[in-house]
Symmetry: C2
Subunit: 259 residues, 2 copies
């Protein structure tokens, strides 16, 4: 199940003509999460770190708060089914899937002014030298073997200011980050004062996902949306984007953390 | 509402030092779709073509089949609410959001072997010269003004073999395609024997979305997943990816349509 790609016969057309060749494509795999004996969701993902993904997904959606909530976890990775039993009494919440589709932030702007988000406010006074950001992104990009092979996946990493601590790849940028947090939860990896790097664009959904975990610095190879910057500004999160080689980066808010 | 970007003050860090600058970020806007007086979903999107998006979303999700299904459409674009009344009796379907999250293809592989997908099989014998693919992609990339300004959006287009007929941009690659089909439905733009171009990766979800509309040729600037290629192969759709400049492209299946 660790094999994230599949070989295909491809017709390549160039100025020189047409030729048959082989190429690797990212695998897309359906993972069904069964929570307390009820089928909750099927996620389309890259077939690696499936336990981390299932747990990270539940964690992001507020259906798990800590490792002790998990009474039992049985993974049938071959068939793409993960069964999880939790100590929580199942809350029958018809709005769950609505919330998911609405990007876990309801009405966007209105959401982060609601009371329950005040707990997300990040107060960490960690700082990082600009040079360290360039170094981390450089390491990050060299770590992406599946991307190098297929050009078809996103990656994410949890870092301190010197190195990558946890790395993941997935066809979905949300999944890649859920895999990180799921692993941290299951393996007791501390996340306070850590940094998240993502290859993907930063929408309000991604920003909320990392804000819920108290991450003070988020770095993207790509760009944020206006809403992501506003939320990061409000929640005290440093948002860095468009990190290109060792040459340039943009800091969108709370730039005092980048020294 | 047509303004898809917002100006932000950005700190740019380069080898030469730090300087304050202004930059444009893609706007992210919550659009709530109310179907038959019931709040159905809030989509996070780029704030343009909202009517097309709402209608295209319902069309893709099978909640609309044609223009005549729409009894009333009232758009409050300022507040991001579109109310649609349809002739269909509301089917109370608790699995709707489950299906959406599962990427409109249930269990992935199992889905496209189910009976209801046989109707998607595309039999069009349209062909397109490779040179025309390069020309279309070239036009497509020059059309993406919001992308040029923000680097934060995807784009999609409906084309014939000579030119772009309908073009859209959105922070979501699904939304960009829904906007195309929503507009075609509302404005009676024929889609048979047409081509879809997308800037985004092609997952099974995207493939199903275009397959449902009977599109015979799908072109991506990026790459497909293995599952997208298998489904395209089965449904008779020509899948072209990695179109780079006027130099090269990959054809993943049904290459007989690219001459």
């Amino acid at each position: 199940m660790e094999n994230g790609s599949e070989k295909f016969s491809i017709l390549r057309i160039t100025g020189e003509g047409r030729n048959r060749d082989e190429g690797l494509l990212a695998r897309e795999f359906p993972l069904t999460v069964v929570l307390n004996n009820e089928e909750l969701v099927t996620l389309l993902c890259s077939p690696s770190d499936l336990k981390y993904l299932a747990v990270g997904f539940l964690y992001s959606e507020g259906l798990l708060s800590n490792k002790e909530d998990i009474k039992k976890l049985v993974a049938d990775e071959q068939n793409g089914i993960i069964r999880i039993e939790t100590t929580r009494i199942k809350e029958s919440n018809p709005d769950l899937f609505r919330r998911i589709l609405t990007s876990a932030c309801g009405r966007g702007i209105s959401f982060y002014s609601e009371t329950d988000t005040t707990s997300y406010r990040v107060t960490s006074d960690i700082k990082i030298p600009a040079e360290a950001v360039f170094n981390l992104v450089n390491q990050f990009q060299h770590e992406s073997h599946l991307y190098s092979a297929t050009r078809g996946v996103h990656s994410a990493a949890l870092c301190d200011s010197k190195s990558l601590l946890v790395f993941s790849e997935d066809i979905g940028r949300h999944n890649a980050i859920d895999k990180i947090f799921g692993r941290c939860l299951l393996e007791d990896i501390p996340i306070s004062d850590r940094i998240i790097i993502t290859s993907g664009r930063i929408s309000s959904e991604i920003l909320h996902k990392v804000a819920k975990r108290g991450i003070p610095i988020v770095i993207s190879i790509s760009v944020p949306t206006n809403l992501a910057v506003r939320i990061a500004e409000d929640l005290g999160i440093t948002l860095v984007g468009m990190v290109i080689g060792k040459r340039r980066m943009n800091v969108y808010c709370h730039h005092w953390r980048v020294i």
